[in-house]
Amino acid sequence: MKIGGTAVSFAVKSPRTITWLMISSTLILALLAGLPSIWPEAFPFLTPLKVDTDPENMLPEDEPVRVFHNRMKREMALYDMVVLGVVNDANPDGVFNPESLARVYELTEFAKTLRWEDPANPGEFQGVIEADLIAPSTVENIEQAGPGTVKFEWLMESPPYTNEEARAIREKAARIPFLKDTLLSTNGKAVALYIPLTAKNLSYRISQELQKKIDGFEGDEKYFITGLPVAQDTFGVEMFKQMAIAAPAAMLIIFLLMLFFFRKIVLIISPLIVAMVSVIATMSILVITGQTIHIMSSMIPIFIMPIAVLDAVHILSEFFDRYQETKSRRETIYQVMNTLFKPMLYTSLTTSVGFASLALTPIPPVQIFGIYIAIGVMLAWIWTILFIPAFIMLIPSRAFDNFGALHDRREDREIALTVTKAKHRIRSNLSMTWLLAATGRVTFRHARTVLIVAAVGVVVAIFGINRIVINDNPTKWFSPSHPIREADRVLNKHFAGTYMAYLALTGPEENISVERFAETLSARLAARAARVRGELPGAGAVYAALQNEIGRQGKVTSSRELLEELTAFAEKNASDAGFDEMDSWDDALLFIGEEEQRGEIFKQPEVLAYIEGLQKHLLTTGVVGKSNSLTDIVKTVYRELISGEEKDFVIPETAAAVGQSLITYQNSHRPQDLWHFVTPDYRTTVLWIQLKSGDNTDMEKVLASVDGYIAQNPLPAGLEYRWFGLTYINVVWQQKMVAGMLQAFLGSFLIIFLMMTLLYRSALWGMLAMIPLTVTIGLIYGIIGLIGKDYDMPVAVLSSLSLGLAVDYAIHFLSRSRDLYQHYGSWGNAVAAVFGEPARAIARNVIVIGVGFLPLLLAPLVPYQTVGFFIAAILLTAGVATLMIIPALMTVLERLLFPKTKLCCLTCNCATCTVSSIALVAVVAINLRQFFNVGWTALSWWSLTSIVILILICFIMSRRDRCREKIQ
């Protein structure tokens, strides 16, 4: 309090200096952030505002799963796609009528033009990738055209003229497995265009352009635009609109509520100023330090605001209750600050710790979010203790004449008097006062009942927590009525699924040495020579020459190089050879060519058959609508080459037959399509898996199912499998976040417990302070489990918010209770006082901030709704838990909590010392695990050893002579 006292008296003495200091520092920060954002050229040394709405960035850029995802996307030329669905329910032929198809065609042609020069890289284009666009007029049809004839053609080269032609297009497309339920729905009602983009963050712009074009169309068709990139990008755009509405709305409601409680506009402006200054300064620092505004960091203002207002509300509440006692601003402020300084410091510190603990999660945006809120909270604290007193001093004292409660808290009768005087004014305060007083009596008289009810609540909460489903789905971040959700529903009803996950199968690395390869090659060559010797008279000599040549290749470094050398050698000999030897050299060249293709795993029929089996299995999961693979392509081409009939929809028998089918497939308009499924070396293949929902639980189901299948049916040819795709990445960051959040939460829980123990010099008091918070979090997550709300990103983040806020009330309550207990000598006597003004401050806080965040419920974005609802719920629960459970426990544990004798110092309390030691070791262990990735086994041993040693020290310390001296 010494430094605090100095600070407060400085604020009271020089209020103008403080005000100018605050305004100028905030302005400087805002300018440092704002100027480079508005004029980036003029301030090249400063970092401008950067916006990033890509949930992929929930994982660090070098995260292996992202590196792999990006590598595979590049290798397989897979792009993020906008999905545009066209549905016609009015026409009996669905979309397959000349008018609808003409519009689909026009839309496709329009989509092709949506590309422009990249402003960042002149000469490079960005936008729609025409070559990979999937639409009726851009995909290939392969079919029988009369006996013994195969035909390659555009599925819809130009819009059809007649209904028959339109229906024919539908029939053709339905025969191609790749197109069925992907390009068109089985009932023909819908067609989907898949529009690949050079970059995901263009999807909003592209979808807006498409929408404009669509708005110009007439007809029965309905159009739906979706796809994960659109959802993510649109979210980013809406997020900023939301920020502009939700944050000010929350501010307004808080203002109105404070006005209702304190009546003095000039006075209640001060907490709002503190909140605004804290938000502006924090966001400016965020920009200045080069961090991006992300989905997470966009929520920083919404989180800082209630916390910033919180302390100011405590001050104002106290000031309001006490002012009429002295009628002196200065005097009242000193009193108020003297009482509140320590609890405010601790509440701010604990809130900061709660958020700073998020820095321990492995998710960069969550780390940023936590760290900057921690900064914001401390800024808010500084300006609260400096500016609020300064502000009060700046208001002329006559403005306070009829301000505040006139009652004396020691004489409750006077409350009634006050009330009669200003009945209309503070009716709410009266009922609240009465309610709080009643609460106090209940917790004292029926302490055990209150505790039993709380215990039952906790049991129910535990039951609920066990039912929590961890799940997220970026599409569901939009409210159910949002066009994106509607598109999602309609398209996933018509098609096999708009959510893509990819399963990559890769052949093992060939790490065989050149020498070893040369040996085995010689052996195979000898075998070949023996086999062909009968048919080719010159083969013996030719193969011997080749054998000899292998032996002479000392300097080659790879098997590929060796084969190239042999090819050159054989080609030279072949061109010089006489007619007798020619055929043998040709055979030798063929042999070398075959050797070059030895690694082409995905031309092997048995490998393709394995993929076929896996695809069938995927359909049994119930969440996979369809999968596409190399096998499907091979089977389709083979069918059309042989007869076009269903019986020939099979994998050909030999690798050469597969190879020839595939080279035939490449005689199309889109030969590059093949390389979306397999690499040109035929050593990596990708299965496209279409899911009907982007729920992480669905993706997890697929993951588990594939793991199970592969465990039972081992992969052939030493293949390895690995997932990628946005739907999969979402699962990975969610899993990381859940685990990370849990550790971060445990860590900060223990730190706050240690802080509480230190603050109250007792582990028992420390635990008492943790109870409302524990119960609150238990109940909130229990309710989430019980009502079946998915545990998603905003819900996960809320745990740290509750950690910060719920403990605040406990600190205020405990600090004041302790003071009042000393004043009254017994808990029974103190209860009424505790439930007077301190309880009122807590209750006001709950109402002001809880209700202030309810406007978020009107937000069209679900994460904001979630945050709004749960902030209110957390505050209410924490308030109730603090006001009910703590006093009940104090009643029951009065003798333990308020011992008649006091120990001279903290270390003399063996129990407190021991408990603190265990908590300390646990904190260290969790952090070691997080930052240095130490294994749990090693950690457990070290921790156990340290705990034993620390307990011994505690034991010895508490047996010191000094500790025998009891202080009365």
Binding site: A77, G593, Q666
Partner: protein
């Protein structure tokens, strides 16, 4: 292979000797008529000699720098002029036989074309897949599809019918005639027009740029090497770039020979299963 099918200067020299003086005069003194340039280019590009053969190696490089190889032998035989069998400048029907050697798993695969010069008559095309023991006719309507996965189209290999486009001489430089070619039926092709740079001496197309319907260049052919073989200037190396996919195909021609006396009957279905080994050497 278009280039292999392209032809020669030696041949032009022969023409110069045997042709009536009036025509020669036209080519030297007066600016050439656009149809004359088109005809001679067509002739130089696809009809040199009575027949021809080349071993082709093709390297397809994608935008990631990954390479795929193809090796094949190509045989070509022009139908003689019905009016004057000895006239080698006739650009009528033509037969081609493409025999694949690499990759090894498509060894012995054959692609055969009977090109018909009459407008409105589709070419006849066959494919023989040895591993499936299958001879398949390919419906001839679509000629602008990839040739075995490369950036060349079938039509680039066999030659686009000159009557399908209208031609316009855009300019004449020191070395080139620059022709703009616009399709008569724009619905059947993916380009809006294409521009050819024809070398003035050899009448070989040295560069062709294709423009899509938005007027953007998306495809580019470049002749990278020309040798005179048996007196015929012959493109021995050429590339085709697809600017939309970033892929490029390079073709190199070896063992190019003209007028080897290919019999007509090897260009029949019977020879798909039994390749004429003698001529494929």
């Amino acid at each position: 292979m278009r280039n292999y099918l392209l032809s020669t200067i030696g041949y032009s020299l022969i023409l110069a000797v045997f042709m009536p003086a009036g025509i020669t005069e036209d080519t030297t003194d007066k600016p050439l008529d656009v149809n004359e340039i088109v005809n001679r280019t067509n002739q130089a590009a696809y009809y040199q000699g009575k027949d021809g053969r080349a071993r082709v190696s093709m390297v397809i490089t994608d935008s990631q720098g990954r390479e795929r190889n193809r090796k094949f032998t190509i045989l070509r035989r022009d139908e003689p002029d019905p009016a004057d069998p000895g006239n080698d400048s006739y650009t009528g029907d033509q037969k081609s036989y493409v025999y694949f050697q690499r990759p090894a798993d498509v060894n012995k695969m054959v692609f055969m074309v009977w090109k018909h010069s009459d407008q409105g008559t589709d070419d006849d095309r066959w494919l023989y897949l040895p591993a499936l023991d299958l001879v398949k006719r390919i419906a001839g309507t679509e000629k602008r599809t990839s040739f075995v996965g490369s950036d060349f189209f079938y039509e680039d290999v066999t030659g686009r019918n000159i009557n399908d486009d209208t031609h316009e001489l855009v300019k004449t430089t020191d070395n080139y005639y620059v022709l703009k070619n616009t399709p008569k039926d724009s619905g059947s092709v993916e380009f809006r027009d294409y521009t050819i740079w024809v070398h003035k001496d050899t009448f070989l197309p040295v560069k062709i740029e294709y423009f899509d319907k938005n007027g953007e260049k998306y495809r580019e052919y470049t002749a990278l090497g020309v040798e005179t073989i048996q007196g015929f200037p012959t493109v021995t190396k050429a590339s085709m770039k697809n600017l939309k996919t970033g892929n490029e195909t390079m073709m190199s021609y070896e063992n190019v020979q003209y007028d080897i006396g290919l019999p007509d009957d090897i260009f029949t279905e019977r020879y798909l299963r039994k390749p004429p080994r003698k001529y494929l050497r």
